[in-house]
Symmetry: C2
Subunit: 220 residues, 2 copies
């Protein structure tokens, strides 16, 4: 592992308190003990601050998060998390064993490609009035697949007994599920893991209820 | 890199000729020179062979691909590709430099989380009659973001001059775009990269028109 001079500048996270993908990156920074600055992008205010030309230059996908780090700008939370893992000291976010790494990535991608994209703001805006039912359908579909997989891979956490990128993806997805009134109690392994993870400081300090841009009525 | 005894058994790819995520895995195997067996799962026939209890046990998400490899079963194509890369000799599918790796993952995830999931069969089946318009909208939205990113990162291929996982994601997504009648000519960098990549044997032998389950009328 090699730390270049650029690492001395604090990374900047362009995110939104309630965005599950922004939360993933906040958890990764917290687990690694990396200090960073937050520049909030309000996805609702002014018709969506992610739609400005200024933000589009930073992330052409017009989504959060985008992270300025070591002289480059990265979007896509899993790419950011793995970059942090590969360039910063601290606890590994992906296990050393290739099979366990693959399981961590499988679970992360099941959430990041199979569930979350279907509740993305720009998707549910297109769905319109049925967005609650739509989101519930696809979260339930995803959790029905995730539950038996986690039953096989989980120990104390999603894959074995070490916290990994899979856990970083799970907790914000459960938070989303609760926002969309999915009964998480139907998925005992997901529920147990989520509760265990929420006991950990890195998941608490990064929580949507405790961010600089959290509105007062949602603040913990 | 350590090859265990289980590596001596050929991996089994459960896929579908036209699935863009199955094609990604076929390209990775071809680039690495890994021999594998294919067990086709017809997503249309019999109401969808991915919906059987037998297949659900293999991949609870009821999607292709699923890969049996080294004694474990993996789903999620990017997890499979990175596992192949980390355990098999042959050309790297992710560059050695952490920043370039992060850019490869960013582009891969932009496609795998930001574009492809919205054309997944189980999603467009729910969209119904408007599925063509829906798919075009989200592919265009994604390509509008991908084009300026690739303009910055690309050399001969998506990131610099070496083939990577980003290229493995790009070509099947362009194939999908063409199926949904998106005018790819609007995106000159995407078009150029796709054409260059389709010249390469690994992209040709893995093409949907040349698989064991390709119907005769679609065979090249």
């Amino acid at each position: 592992m090699r730390l270049s001079l650029a690492c001395l500048a604090k990374p900047i996270l362009h995110g939104y308190f309630r965005s599950s993908c922004s939360w993933r990156v906040r958890i990764a920074f917290a687990l690694k003990g990396v200090e960073y600055d937050q520049l909030p992008v309000n996805l609702i205010k002014d018709g969506g601050q992610q739609l400005t030309e200024e933000y589009k230059a930073l992330n052409p996908m017009q989504q959060v998060p985008a992270v300025e780090i070591d002289g480059i700008t990265l979007s896509q939370s899993l790419a950011v998390i793995q970059y942090i893992d590969e360039t910063r000291p601290g606890p590994r976010l992906l296990p050393a064993d290739p099979k366990a790494r693959a399981q961590v990535r499988m679970i992360s991608d099941l959430i990041a490609s199979g569930i979350q994209p279907l509740q993305n703001l720009y998707v549910i805006q297109k769905i319109g009035a049925e967005k609650m039912q739509w989101s519930q359908h696809f979260i339930d579909r995803g959790f029905q697949a995730l539950e038996p997989i986690l039953k096989q891979t989980a120990g104390k956490y999603c894959v074995g007994d070490e916290i990994s990128m899979a856990d970083i993806c799970l907790v914000p997805q459960v938070y989303n599920a609760e926002r969309f009134k999915v009964d998480v109690g139907k998925y005992p392994t997901i529920k147990r893991l989520n509760e265990a993870l929420l006991e950990i400081e890195a998941f608490q300090v990064s929580h949507p209820s405790r961010q600089p841009d959290t509105p007062d009525d949602l603040r913990a």
